[in-house]
């Protein structure tokens, strides 16, 4: 699993690290990350609010959808999360976790669909899903990725490590312009 362990470093590259974590996911870790996000210095309130929102959605997606098993030498319920500043112009927020093939296909398909929509189309879709009275058994409403794309306004990306026929490590990358 060295490729999974090194994945976050590869994704960060030479960019400035604002925050990073990899290991076991828990409620305490979630709270700790969100506390650190709230206390990121030297950025606009607008950027901080958007980073906070996107981070909450990404981490809660990890909690709801990742495979909780222990894979070889990694802790169980393993995930990674990072916020980087790329060339001072963009923030990149990424979160990765283990998924099975079905979940992988669903995520990739959803990202591809959302990337085709402009801002107005996303807003219309958001309102349609908001008002459809459907909840998942985990309390989700199918709005998370739509609203992440809406807040980011930039293309969503994913990077993956194929481990076997039914196991992937899936990383979701969200970019945000560093507006003043």
């Amino acid at each position: 699993m060295d490729n999974v362990k090194n994945f976050l470093s590869d994704l960060i590259g030479q960019n400035e690290v604002v925050l990073k974590y990899s290991g076991h996911y828990s409620e305490e870790i979630f709270k700790d990350i969100m506390y650190k996000v709230e206390n990121i210095g030297s950025i606009s309130n607008t950027a901080k609010r958007k980073i906070f929102f996107i981070s909450v959605e990404l981490l809660q997606n990890v909690h709801h959808h990742s495979l909780k098993d222990k894979f070889i030498d990694l802790p169980e319920n393993y995930f990674h999360f990072a916020i980087t500043k790329n060339n001072g112009k963009f923030f990149k927020i990424c979160a990765g976790n283990f998924v099975n093939r079905k979940k992988y296909n669903t995520l990739v398909s959803k990202i591809e669909q959302l990337n085709l929509l402009n801002y107005d189309e996303l807003r219309k879709l958001y309102k349609t899903v908001l008002n459809n009275n459907e909840y998942s058994d985990k309390g989700g409403g199918g709005l998370g990725m739509i609203d992440i794309k809406r807040k980011s306004e930039l293309k969503l990306e994913h990077q993956n490590i194929f481990l076997n026929n039914n196991l992937y490590f899936f990383n979701f990358s969200v970019f945000l312009e560093n507006k003043k």
């Binding site: 309130n45 958001y126 409403g141 739509i146």
Partner: protein
């Protein structure tokens, strides 16, 4: 009917629903992983309140963040208020507060406003 008072936490908002004054306040952040659990008592309270609502009900909503798990639950709250507003001689106003540079929160309020048939006031506040 009793007041509904919930103290806010790092993940859930402060709630003060007062059946005598008709003032329903929700303030803070709403980012629970499963929002249905948090909002169900609020929806149940409103269901009861709707049977004896006072003439003017004012909902003051001042959220700094809410996650998408909360989004639909907030709409459920507003739909309950909409049903009260439809009753004869009952009026409900939703006051949606947002910080002056928080365009996302303003848009979120506008999204609810476009779905609901109920008086909805957008109120900008200084940070």
């Amino acid at each position: 009917m009793n007041k509904l008072e919930i103290i806010g936490t790092a993940k859930t908002p402060t709630v003060n629903f007062n059946p005598e004054s008709g003032i329903l306040e929700m303030k803070g952040r709403s980012i629970p992983e499963n929002a249905i659990e948090f909002f169900k008592p609020l929806v149940d309270w409103l269901e009861e309140y709707s049977k004896s609502a006072i003439d003017l009900t004012q909902a003051n909503i001042q959220l700094e963040y809410f996650n998408t798990s909360s989004s639909k639950c907030i709409l459920d709250i507003f739909k309950k208020l909409e049903s009260i507003n439809k009753q004869d001689e009952k009026e409900v106003v939703i006051n949606w507060y947002y910080e002056e540079d928080d365009e996302d929160m303003l848009e979120a309020g506008e999204d609810y406003q476009s779905i609901l048939k109920i008086p909805f006031k957008m109120i900008e506040i200084e940070e």
